[in-house]
């Protein structure tokens, strides 16, 4: 018996054959002992397996289940995006943006805020003193915000002749 004939017997057992073909196959089985034996064996086998078929129920609808399978397949087939190659210049440029902001703030601060001295007062920077008076001294009081330059001018003998340095005349 060839494979096609065996499939015919299986189809007869499963009730998948059209009515005319089913009667022809039934007639053939009735006349052929080998075919009848195979059909009987198939029937016994199905009967034996039927009791062991566990009923599996899906927790979701059939359409949803298969759509999940389809999406999974598509996900696997989609090539993973390649990581864009970040150039050294791009990294430097990314750093430049915040660095620029910080620098602008610092420059603006330096331009707008006067320097503070130890007591919070601005520093009066002594830059240069050209004194004709070698006996003079300079004193700086940061808390008072005052600079004193004390001069020995006018000389004692000169002062004795005039009124102070001539200032009060």
């Amino acid at each position: 018996m060839d494979y096609k004939a065996q499939l015919k017997l299986q189809a007869l057992l499963d009730g998948e054959l059209p009515e005319g073909e089913a009667s022809a196959v039934a007639q053939w089985v009735a006349q052929d002992r080998e075919a009848a034996a195979l059909l009987e064996e198939l029937r016994n086998t199905r009967g034996a397996l039927a009791g062991f078929d566990a009923e599996v129920r899906l927790p979701e609808s059939r359409e949803f289940f298969w759509s999940k399978v389809e999406r999974g397949i598509q996900r696997l087939e989609t090539p993973a995006p390649k990581l864009a190659r970040v150039s050294y210049f791009s990294l430097v440029r990314r750093l430049l943006v915040p660095a620029s902001a910080v620098a602008v703030v610092l420059i603006a601060g330096l331009m707008l805020i006067p320097p503070a001295g130890p007591t919070g007062h601005t520093i009066a920077t002594e830059m240069e003193t050209a004194l004709a008076d070698s006996g003079a001294f300079t004193y700086r009081d940061y808390s008072a915000g005052a600079t004193l330059v004390w001069l020995s001018y006018p000389a004692e003998d000169e002062a004795a002749e005039i009124d102070e340095m001539g200032t009060f005349d």
């Binding site: 331009m111 707008l112 004193y139 001069l151 102070e164 001539g166």
Partner: protein, 155 residues
């Protein structure tokens, strides 16, 4: 791309720096400095000399003088001048017939101060003088008294 961005960033930096510098410089040069100059006479006596109508000095000046190492207890105002200094112009302020103060603005808060006594330059000094601070020039005077020229920046 690189050739375009580097000049662009550099240009931005340069523009920002120049704008800030120019703004600061303009701001520094634009405003005049305003000062008060005082000619003071110091003594341990409680009254000015006879025949003189010197006024007691302002309270804020007295407070600051107390902080300085000057021994005299009483100070009297001989003369007072209010004046402004413009960038590039020397302001000549006569404190008395023989005492003159020359003030020149050098920068935002920097000044050059020259004290002239009897036509001679006694001292020339460059220093920063922010608002509210003062420069005191002084010396001994006959009979254990003293003279002061106080330059106070008021604006």
């Amino acid at each position: 791309m690189r050739a375009k961005l580097i000049p662009g960033t550099g240009l931005l930096w340069l523009s920002t720096a120049l704008a800030l510098l120019a703004g600061g410089e303009l701001r520094a040069q634009a405003a005049d400095m305003k000062f008060q100059a005082f000619l003071l006479w110091g003594t341990d006596n409680s009254k000015p000399p006879e025949g003189k109508t010197y006024k007691p000095i302002a309270v804020d000046i007295r407070q600051k003088l107390k902080e300085l190492p000057i021994k005299w207890t009483n100070w009297f105002e001989v003369n007072r001048k209010d004046f402004a200094v413009t960038q590039g112009v020397v302001s000549e302020v006569a404190m008395s017939e023989k005492c003159q103060l020359n003030v020149r603005k050098l920068g935002d808060s920097e000044v050059e101060v020259t004290l002239i006594g009897k036509g001679k330059e006694v001292v020339k000094r460059k220093q920063s003088l922010p608002k509210g601070e003062m420069l005191v020039l002084g010396g001994n005077a006959p009979n254990s008294t003293a003279w002061l020229v106080v330059l106070k920046r008021i604006e």
